[in-house]
Symmetry: C2
Amino acid sequence: MVIYNRVALIGLGLIASSMAHAMRAGGLAGEIVGHAKSAETRAVALEIGLCDRVCDTAAEAVAGADLVVLCVPVGAMEAVAAEIGPHLAQGACVTDVGSVKQAVIAAVAPHIPGGVAFVPGHPLAGTEHSGPRSGFATLFQNRWCLLTPTELSTPEAVARLRSLWEAMGSNVDEMDPAHHDLVLAVVSHTPHLIAYTMVGVADHLRRVSNSEVIKYSASGFRDFTRIAASDPVMWRDVFLTNKEATLDILGRFTEELFMLQRAIRMGDGDELHAYFTRTRAIRRGIIEAGQDTAAPDFGRVAKPSGA
Amino acid sequence: MVIYNRVALIGLGLIASSMAHAMRAGGLAGEIVGHAKSAETRAVALEIGLCDRVCDTAAEAVAGADLVVLCVPVGAMEAVAAEIGPHLAQGACVTDVGSVKQAVIAAVAPHIPGGVAFVPGHPLAGTEHSGPRSGFATLFQNRWCLLTPTELSTPEAVARLRSLWEAMGSNVDEMDPAHHDLVLAVVSHTPHLIAYTMVGVADHLRRVSNSEVIKYSASGFRDFTRIAASDPVMWRDVFLTNKEATLDILGRFTEELFMLQRAIRMGDGDELHAYFTRTRAIRRGIIEAGQDTAAPDFGRVAKPSGA
């Protein structure tokens, strides 16, 4: 069931390459055209046959496409939008996969010509790997994709894009762009910053060597390092463009951390125990909602042999 | 190859039950005797045949044992040591599995009678699950176990305990107790406190609902919730007894977090990018050291089908 006759992927990293595999697997696109700024990335895409065609410019890639997906870091959206704007086909739909929505809308919307729809989107899926070789067809299975329609989003364009994401295995929600940015600051942006910071602290500390940190990481630290290995350019742009919401949630975080730090200093075991007990319920909710595995250590340990 | 004729496990949670399974699987103990303070835990241990015998008191369990393993929360070590001290067999060895070493040594050593060795230990292995049903024989495979010998540790007792941990699949290192507590504050205690805090912030925030947090957790947050689901009593005791090192590392953490927060506020993308790039190297080191999987998302996602 072909949903779009020609899909242009601009940027060929983890998300775009996973979309290419998923659209192929489901027969969802008549033709998949790709472009990446880096010649090396384009060469890899050609070598592994990621797209039907790989174009040297974004303008060339979007010509005649009925869906254009902007898969570049948030900070690169404006330049790409400005380049492709004059080359978009009438009746086409432009979407994106950026982790921040208000900044992307501000950057892209001015470049969308009349007769073209713009439906901002954000698939909540990813791994710690990046680049054109990192994609796989099942990345979006049972993951949420958030669409944040604007005045440039026609109901028809939203419905058609929704059907693409659903066909790639996603659940789709629609949300106000500002609320999206706040929700993501809580569930993604602040956790990433904290993980980066904790890994950085371990790296800087001279009294404990890096080889000790690495050897003994199974006691908790390694869970932080997965997200702290994510693409630095993507994350730099996220923090620069979702500044207000991230600083807001960071303020809440340090406030609560100081409260717990004080409880440790004062020896208030009841306070600590009560806090640590409440957080278990959220973990259970995530497992029940099918957003993580209940297996110990996310299933990465060997299976029980004695019990 | 029997290493100890009779092993007494005091406390029957995740670590003790995993030791029971691992010792059985390897034929490492002539007899495994267990005790837990809770009648319910003892009943479960009996029901699932976790030990050869389950005793109603710790004093009874240690009688005639040549290895006694204290597997209770750090805050309960002193009371247990005081109870079993008079009942320990001459030539026996007492060890523990507590996450903090200086406090355990201070609590336990005064109760060790002459002719009995005390070798503090800490297996760096665990999952987010707890209780007598949560153990499995392979928990310690390729994980580190740290021994922190004191003046009550004879070379013979250390060597024999080392051979037990190695036979259960662990790598064994010896370390000064104070250094142990600092290293663990970095790789385990502070990461746990931070994860608890982030999950608590999400729980308290009214503008984003818990159901939104749960639905959209795959974007990073869920990695934090695994360790924030760990046993609250164990973690309360860890923070109360490794107070100095935890507060020290927390101070470093907030200092660096404020530096990154300022970079976000000032729009300093170069600073952020440089920081996020350095942290990737630590992740690679952990994977190369065999302490985590290189598979995307710790291997919890479906396998690539297109690439």
